[in-house]
Subunit: 541 residues, 2 copies
């Protein structure tokens, strides 16, 4: 075969062409950073571009195949603030602290991500017992495990190939788990029927959301799919839309009315979008992330009517369905409301709703369990969905097992029931207390205004940033609230996410903080934020 | 807000335009199957297309937002034979059998997918003990668990937020696991250094492969990224390329030389591809899936030289690295060979290699554990990769824990060592026996020719299909080997995957079968295939 270095070819242009929206970078392929040398001294060209270039000392060096200029341009557009630069800096600070570097704080407190166990929340004993039994079935002979845990484990294992969590499941998920999910949804929704065949188990809710968006994207230019998302939003949505090349269509939540959703704003948004894209889907997060509101039944009904009128596929992100704290608030599933609106809606409006093991009282993020239910999906599309998920084989089976336990927990009369209820209630009550505490303390700070944390796990307070600080941030090329949060981190060790990572009305600034730190730590955190905000405001006034 | 049904708008065309390659379907948006009625009697139009149509009984009915004609066209092009129609039929047959329907067989034997535990392979005791300990840390007080299992569990839990598998990990994976992976690679590769920072834990190997392909895709038309894959191939590759809209560039393995890889064929393939796309990556599966060959060291060196010369990003799918059975065959990692070739190559050739918990002696598919190592990746691209994986938060943590155990198993002197070695050796020896058995029996059949199963878990024999059968298949709109496998399934209950699902030279036919069924069942399976092939050939001669 040919020796490397002697294939001199024609002049067809190599590498990706620059595309619109590809950013201001204009480096040529051969001016990428030089990372290494080659011993070949033949300076050759292929497709009209030099393959190697001479470094200063005369050794030729090879440009990389994959560079920032020749990689997928849609990936470059992806942003994900929840794990962005501020979190990377927090990790660095932790490392510095552990190496004995002196800081104005003794520990980094991360309130950037809804990661309950990392913040000290305890797992539900029953869930973990069943997972241990499923992982190591020898334990089924261990008399210290309660019978209901054993019977759940046996049932799960019987549904697994070779009775092992190590087998692939069906791509849509284990059938018995989907049956349990369906029964859970029926109970939750007061008897509205649910078919196991409409349930797809997923790798966390994120996986289901991205899969649904993937199905929906088509067209080019003015007919390109637009997807309506709330602002502020959870940045999975904007990231997925960027990656898929769909058009992000923003609708703004009403901060003045506790982050509620106005139909007139949806109307404005969709009308405007129709001038440049084809809006086909409407995403709702309820209870809200990052905004913590809980939608009223009336609002949900209005949204459904709007989706029907405007022919939008509804995506309801309901992963916080058990996280409702405020008096007078209640979780209503989109599915239930849809079916209560009668067949005009319940037999036509297309809906996908998402749930997860990661939030609520479970907080089992690491297991990546979740499901989606699809309603009124076209049968041919459903077959395509099933095919699409089969390429990745199956969601993680331990996560499926955990999802099963969430939808089929201990029942009255079973040995684990009392303890399960005790643990669940304790976790949810503490969260409710912390939701209230967060709102109360933040609202004592001049220049911070915090809506009630009705549900979910976050507050998203509005912060005043003095003009001088805005100018300094802009001079640094930073968003003002990123500047604020970065200063907060450096001075206090508290890691929050700037509102700009979620989207906000121009000229307003926010941060998202989780209510998850243990109560004593949360108090310290809130006091430090208060003190910091005061100092920061003074400094820049 | 406006009442539904009174928004009469302009005439901008709605829905996705038909695109080239979008298939022969030409249904209009409003002729989709009618699934339900609406009570609105206003027949209105928006964007020039009727939104509702009158059904025969005069009730108007609404077309779906998402139909086969308006969904993502790239998703439609995805195919995945390993879980395709033949497997769906096998599941139906199992259901029929369980309902007492009479069949010419008593059970369905699935040899379609590398799902070891489902075929009766036992998990490694030590791995499952540690997973149980991690899931339910109360067990750390249980004296029946060996100390080495406990110390592994403690180490894993200490690396988890809040000492819980339920916390998110870093997006790239748990740091201590990545350190263990790096040490494993160094040992495997005779000391070639490996940086934990170049390790990304993944959700099975599939996830890593798709992520890498995603980074590589760019350009349009003649500059669109082409990715070279072997034919026959594992259909994850073709499916991912279809979904990403990349150009699949085929190179054919040499069946006559035991599915070896000829550099001249790579050259032909890349030269031809350059006339219509921009080939940027070369994917290799070693040991081979579906073809079971093990590449020689010389061949790997030649491939690396070829990739360097042709400026291709190398992707080495090495998930079967412990599955090598044939005398004289040995697994050589691409990384090791690359570094043995000296700095001309080791400091320039870009390589990603993939491993998984699903294959080898572990067979833990359901946990979706895996890692990839990236070598010589541009730093800016690496930052983009890290950002991209952060959107999905993290790979499943139990799968990360399992990956850790695979790369850090019991050591000599530890209490679990002997049993671990015994179990691992037993599993691999049985696989080696079954590899030989499969080859031997199939080669006794006239009209079947089977290369040695040197490694991996599959044989991919060539089958003669009589002309008359080919015609009947074609008349049915089926690939001849799909027709063959479907007949085999209906008559014997044996589920194999037709070669056409993996790709093969025109006019040749194959099937893929796993060597995973227990030896006694495998013998029955092979005998039945023999008998079936004989009858089939007679019938159609």
């Amino acid at each position: 075969f040919p020796h490397p270095g002697n294939s001199i070819r024609g002049t067809i242009h190599s590498g990706a062409p620059k595309r619109a929206g590809d950013g201001p970078r204009g480096r040529a392929l051969n001016s990428s950073p030089v990372s290494s040398r080659t011993i070949s001294s033949v300076s050759e060209t292929r497709r009209g571009l030099p393959r190697e270039k001479m470094t200063e000392n005369g050794v030729s060096s090879r440009a990389k195949v994959l560079t920032i200029d020749t990689m997928n341009p849609t990936v470059k557009k992806v942003e994900y603030a929840v794990r962005g630069p501020i979190v990377q800096r927090a990790v660095e600070l932790e490392r510095e602290l552990s190496q004995g570097v002196k800081k104005p704080f003794a520990e980094v407190i991360k309130a950037n991500i809804g990661d309950a166990h990392a913040m000290g929340q305890q797992p539900i004993t029953f869930f973990r017992q069943v997972l241990a039994l499923c992982s190591y079935p020898e334990l089924l002979n261990d008399s210290t495990f309660p019978e209901d845990a054993k019977s759940r484990a046996r049932r799960i294992l019987q549904s697994c190939g070779g009775n092992s969590l190590g087998s692939y499941s069906a791509s849509q998920g284990i059938e018995s788990v989907r049956q349990d999910v369906a029964r859970y949804i029926e109970r939750r929704d007061g008897g509205v029927p649910c078919a196991p065949d409409n349930i797809y188990l997923t790798t966390g809710a994120s996986d289901g959301i991205v899969t649904m968006l993937k199905l929906l994207v088509c067209g080019e230019g003015a007919t390109r799919t637009g997807v309506m998302i709330s602002i502020p939003q959870y940045p999975l949505y904007s990231a997925a839309l960027a990656e898929l090349g769909a058009v992000q269509v923003n609708y703004y939540l009403n901060e003045e009315k506790c982050w509620s959703l106005d139909i007139s704003e949806l109307q404005r948004s969709v009308d405007e979008a129709r001038t440049h894209c084809n809006p086909r889907a409407l995403c709702i997060i309820n209870p809200g992330n990052p905004t913590g509101q809980v939608q009223s039944r009336q609002c949900i009904e209005d949204v459904i009517r709007f989706a029907a009128k405007e022919r939008l596929f509804l995506m309801a992100d309901e992963v916080y369905q058990d996280n409702v704290y405020a008096d007078g608030c209640q979780f209503h599933s989109f599915k239930k409301v849809l079916f209560e609106m009668g067949p005009e809606y319940s037999s036509t409006v297309e809906l996908a709703s998402f749930h997860s093991t990661s939030k609520c009282y479970m907080g089992e993020c690491g297991f990546r369990g979740g499901y989606m239910e699809i309603i009124n999906m076209d049968n041919e599309v459903k077959a395509q969905l099933t095919k699409l998920v089969s390429v990745r084989l199956c969601p993680p089976v331990p996560g499926q097992a955990l999802m099963d336990l969430v939808v089929n927990p201990p029942q009255p009369g079973e040995p684990s029931y009392d303890n399960f209820i005790k643990e669940r209630t304790a976790t949810l009550s503490v969260l409710a207390e912390k939701a209230k505490l967060t709102e109360q303390v933040l609202n004592t700070v001049e220049g911070i205004r915090c809506n009630p944390v009705q549900g979910a796990m976050y507050s998203f307070p509005r912060i005043s940033i003095p003009e001088k600080a805005v100018k300094e941030a802009t001079a640094n090329g930073q968003q003002p609230d990123m500047f604020y949060c970065m200063r907060l981190l450096e001075e206090t060790g508290i890691c929050l996410v700037p509102g700009s990572g979620f989207g906000q009305k121009d000229g307003t600034y926010h941060f998202r903080m989780t209510i998850l730190p243990p109560t004593d730590k949360l108090k310290i955190l809130l006091d430090k934020v208060k003190e910091f905000h005061h100092k920061f405001t003074q400094k820049y006034s």
